[in-house]
């Protein structure tokens, strides 16, 4: 099952490599990984999406917790949550394609953020399924380049991950 694990990490050199190292060392999957500093400059927030049985996920969270630089973590998928991913995508856009792409971008509530005579660069945010859906809708033939941020997530309501 797919899980989103959100981690508060000491903002120290080498901390990220411990997390990534743990996943490869213990044969866990990483599907996406994002990391950036938080409003507290001593902390980074890391979000990792992974798959595995409940037993594997339990081990992942326990092993992550054992890393000295992991301050706190939560499996967001255990409760209701919001997940977002940002995608920048370059699409071949000539002739009649241009209007069609524009319409699809509007339907998916994306924005065209850069334009040349033959290329549109589109920005789209949403959960990962939505981004997959957009790529499917425009057809892979027209896709020149895709860059995705990986998933960021936060719990719904009043639940807060902080120290």
């Amino acid at each position: 099952m797919r899980r989103i694990i959100s981690v508060l990490l000491e903002n120290e050199p080498g901390a990220l490599s411990r997390v990534v190292g743990l996943f490869s060392q213990r044969n866990y999957n990483i599907e996406t990984l994002t990391v950036a500093p938080t409003e507290d400059e001593t902390l980074s927030r890391l979000t990792v999406t992974t798959t595995g049985s409940d037993k594997v996920i339990e081990q992942i969270t326990k092993q992550l917790n054992k890393l000295i630089e992991v301050v706190k973590l939560v499996d967001l998928t255990e409760g209701s949550h919001i997940e977002r991913e940002l995608m920048l995508i370059k699409l071949k856009a000539t002739g009649s394609q241009r209007a069609e792409i524009k319409r699809t971008v509007d339907i998916f509530r994306g924005q065209i953020v850069d334009v040349t005579s033959s290329v549109y660069t589109v920005q789209l945010a949403g959960d990962s399924d939505k981004l997959d859906g957009f790529i499917q809708a425009v057809g892979t033939a027209g896709v020149l380049e895709v860059v995705r941020s990986g998933v960021s997530g936060i719990a719904r309501g009043e639940k807060i991950l902080s120290i």
């Binding site: 080498g14 490599s17 411990r18 190292g21 060392q25 339990e58 081990q59 326990k62 092993q63 000295i68």
Partner: protein, 572 residues
């Protein structure tokens, strides 16, 4: 406040931490530190002949004393040579701090001479690692390193020290922190009261209970509490290879150790039990055999300081995260207060069954009037040392024979590389023990394969006068490899036969020690006595033992705990 250079601060920190010995080897990036070491005499440095041995020495010291060991090496090859030793300590949760020199911070990343990313290289095999980024941080980093290494589930911590952090003419204010607090590291100090209560209820209601204790009892200094609980309950106990000595092996409630080469009665009792109390062990694959066939009728209580060890391979019914000594103490007081007592009738029937298993096949082997059996050597050593020696071992058949036939009644006396299985561990570990226990008998039980992996340390033994006794069970082959080839590869002895063995007697003599060869059965005891009588000499006993002996019992691969070979021909 005093002004000290980084190097002096480092050594002062070690003094203030109460460190007695450092095991190490100098080199370019560590020279400022070695100079600071020279200018004091509180912390003693032991110069090894290979950095791997320094780590095993620190490891032996830590296992015997229960205190963290300390290693000092230079950057690059000095640091990478420690990796096997660090991994050994990591797998067995041994507290240790490894101080590594590093090239100056301005050179890091430039492929400078003797530069290695030690933080990166060591990461998978350390509990934590730290690098010094400013000389002023040194006291705090050192305090943190020892704190992390020796609390919670212990383990090795590497400290990387770039050369410019120890420059002699740059001085800073020194003070050693009494305490260190890490917001992200808070090991459990006691177990969950509700879980402990539940566990005690289950324990008292059990009909066929088994107590399964591991190295955590020794690391957690909980042997006394365990003994008291086990005796109060009157239940049978087994322990892992790492737990040897946590409960007296000669006690009647002790069934010997369990797992791949454990006793018949231990493995049978585990398999047929209805309740297993696991104390500080981790259901390792050498214990469980095939996990899906593991102890089908047993419910499991698992006490461990490390939550990640619980339900990792075998699901626990009652997990208890906490230090084993505190948890066992609470369990004991609940057992004593409880209105219920163990079901005497069920327990008597259970013991009757266990005694039948014991009678069917205890630890035994066939003797031969013309050949020295390795097991005989161990039994003789046990008798001649009154079972009181510190015994270190290397890895292979000799390790299993030593663990099976030397009956340890005390913790911290059996010292071996259980998790990683590191050949070359035994001699340096014995040296670390001997240095701290000069009046005790320290035996290194080894084989002609393993001993050659760190034989150069005979030189260190001479320099520091470390009269350990090396018991080389020489079967002229890599015995355990050969045994597996006999059992699984139709005796195709691929690379397991050691031709061109050195003359170990001359070798020992050339290092300034005594060498004794034993190849006749009638010479065994007299010559062992002769060697043990030489209190101030390192004696290398080269003992020619049966080349065809196998270690039994041995669990059948992919079977349950009760599926064992009891000899070359008996399978149950």
């Amino acid at each position: 406040m005093e002004l000290l250079s980084g190097a002096d601060m480092l050594i002062r920190s070690l003094q203030d931490e109460g460190i007695e010995y450092i095991y190490g080897y100098p080199g370019g990036a560590a020279l400022h530190i070695y100079d600071a070491l020279f200018r004091q005499d509180k912390v003693k440095h032991i110069l090894v002949r290979h950095e791997q041995a320094a780590v095993h020495m620190a490891d032996g010291y830590a296992r015997a004393t229960g205190k963290p060991g300390t290693v000092l090496v230079t950057s690059g090859p000095g640091a990478t040579n420690t990796i096997t030793g660090i991994a050994t300590a990591f797998m067995d949760s041994i507290p240790m701090v490894v101080l590594c020199g590093q090239v100056a911070s301005s050179l890091i990343g430039e492929d400078a001479f003797q530069e290695t990313d030690m933080i990166g290289v060591s990461r998978p095999v350390v509990k934590h690692n730290l690098s010094v980024r400013h000389p002023e941080e040194i006291p705090e980093v050192i305090r943190k390193a020892y704190y992390i290494a020796s609390t919670g589930r212990p383990g090795p911590v590497v400290v990387d020290i770039p050369k410019d952090m120890t420059t002699p003419n740059e001085r800073y204010e020194y003070s050693y922190p009494k305490k260190v607090k890490l917001r992200s590291y808070n090991p459990a100090v006691r177990g969950h009261a509700g879980q402990i209560k539940k566990a005690v209820d289950m324990l008292l209601a059990a009909k066929r209970p088994m107590i399964y204790a591991g190295g955590g009892v020794i690391l957690g200094k909980a042997s006394e509490q365990l003994i008291e609980l086990v005796r109060t309950l009157g239940y049978p106990i087994t322990n892992t290879l790492m737990g040897i000595g946590c409960y007296p092996a000669t006690d009647k409630q002790h069934l010997g150790w369990l797992g791949m080469h454990g006793t018949y009665e231990s493995n049978m009792a585990m398999h047929h039990s209805d309740l297993i109390l696991c104390v500080g062990a981790r259901f390792d694959d050498r214990v469980t055999n095939a996990t899906e066939k593991f102890c089908p009728g047993a419910r499991i209580i698992h006490i461990d300081i490390d939550p990640a060890s619980i339900s990792k391979t075998i699901e626990a019914d009652v997990p208890i995260v906490g230090p084993v000594d505190a948890v066992l103490k609470e369990m004991l007081s609940l057992v004593k207060e409880a209105k219920e007592t163990p079901d005497a009738e069920a327990l008597a029937a259970w013991w009757k069954q266990i005694d039948e298993w014991r009678a069917f096949h205890g630890m035994r082997y066939e003797t031969n009037p013309d050949v020295i059996k390795p097991q005989e050597v161990i039994e003789a050593l046990w008798r001649l040392t009154d079972g009181k020696a510190f015994v270190t071992s290397d890895v292979g058949q000799h390790q299993m024979f030593a663990a099976q036939y030397y009956k340890f009644d005390k913790p911290n006396r059996w010292i071996n590389s259980g998790g990683l299985g590191t050949m070359g561990f035994g001699l340096p570990a014995a040296m670390g023990v001997k240095l701290s226990f000069p009046d005790d008998e320290v035996l290194c039980i080894t084989g002609e394969g393993s001993i050659q992996m760190n034989i150069q340390e005979l030189s260190t033994c001479k320099q520091y006068d470390l009269p350990v006794k090396i018991i080389n069970l020489n079967n002229q082959a890599l015995g355990m490899v050969k045994q597996w080839q006999d059992m699984n590869y139709e005796s195709r002895h691929s690379q397991s036969y050691m031709e061109s063995l050195p003359d170990f007697i001359k070798l020992a003599e050339s290092y300034g020690h005594v060498g004794i060869r034993i190849d006749k059965k009638e010479d065994l005891e007299p010559k062992l006595k002769e060697a043990l009588a030489m209190k101030d000499k390192l004696v290398f006993l080269d003992i020619y033992v049966d080349r065809f002996e196998h270690v039994y019992p041995m669990q059948v691969a992919r079977g349950s705990m009760k599926d064992m070979w009891l000899s070359k021909t008996e399978r149950v």
